[in-house]
């Protein structure tokens, strides 16, 4: 596609429910990042994939968070047993080069998660 696509754009979940957020990066982009953005804050790093390999998951806040990119393109961020503190916008970004250090990140519009 022309840009990074995320779905759903909005998700309301009851506390304790599991959610899955999808990211479709720009075709051919090697690097894929997930960020979490709380209201009024900057994006906080969650995890990084180079193709299908998850090379860095140091930002995942707990073992309830899980991300995958099985074929090196589409990625899914799964949150199990959601808590109210998980409410945030989840941003996906992709980059042409391996690692993010060599160029710009292309962001999707984000998935806004509200946990009631």
């Amino acid at each position: 596609g022309a840009g990074v696509s995320q779905s759903p754009r909005y998700k309301v979940a009851k506390r304790g429910q599991d959610v899955a957020l999808r990211c479709d990066p720009i075709s051919g982009h090697v690097s894929l990042f997930w960020y979490q953005q709380a209201l009024g804050q900057g994006p906080e790093f969650l995890t990084y994939f180079q193709n299908e390999a998850q090379l860095d998951k140091s930002g995942l806040p707990s073992d309830r968070f899980f991300a995958e990119r099985p074929e090196g393109s589409v990625s899914t961020l799964k949150i199990q047993r959601t808590q109210q503190e998980d409410s945030a916008v989840y941003l996906c970004a992709s980059s042409r080069a391996p690692g993010g250090a060599t160029g710009e990140l292309f962001f999707g519009e984000g998935s806004r998660l509200t946990v009631l």
Binding site: G42, F45, Q50, D56, G99, A101, L105, F106, F107
Partner: protein, 112 residues
């Protein structure tokens, strides 16, 4: 988290004025980027400056980088109402792999 800090946190100016926002970071970098975010939208890349560069221009944008002070500034000249957005700096961080660490952002409001 190890976010950088932007200041000011919020800035309100009149159309036609210049807007300057600053970013400080903590560790050595290879490059620094500035991004813009309109309300409810994703981030859009504005400009990248490498650690061996001191100044860079792109249209109405001017970015400076002082690696000795670990700081950068973004200047938007002749601002327009459409420049109203949040602006973030992002620094690359290496800890086994590369990732970008974002600052807390400056919310710019340009009044028509």
């Amino acid at each position: 988290s190890q976010q950088g800090e932007e200041d000011p946190q919020a800035l309100s100016i009149q159309e036609g004025e210049n807007a300057t926002m600053n970013c400080s970071y903590k560790t050595s970098i290879n490059n620094l980027q500035w991004y813009r975010q309109n309300s409810g939208r994703g981030l859009v890349h504005l400009i990248l400056i490498r650690s061996n560069e001191r100044e860079k221009h792109s249209g109405r944008l001017r970015v400076t980088l002082d690696t000795s002070k670990k700081s950068s500034s973004l200047l938007i000249t002749a601002s327009r109402a459409a420049d109203t957005a949040s602006y973030f700096c992002a620094t690359d961080s290496y800890s086994g792999t590369y990732k970008y660490i974002f600052g807390t952002g400056t919310r710019l409001k340009v009044l028509a």
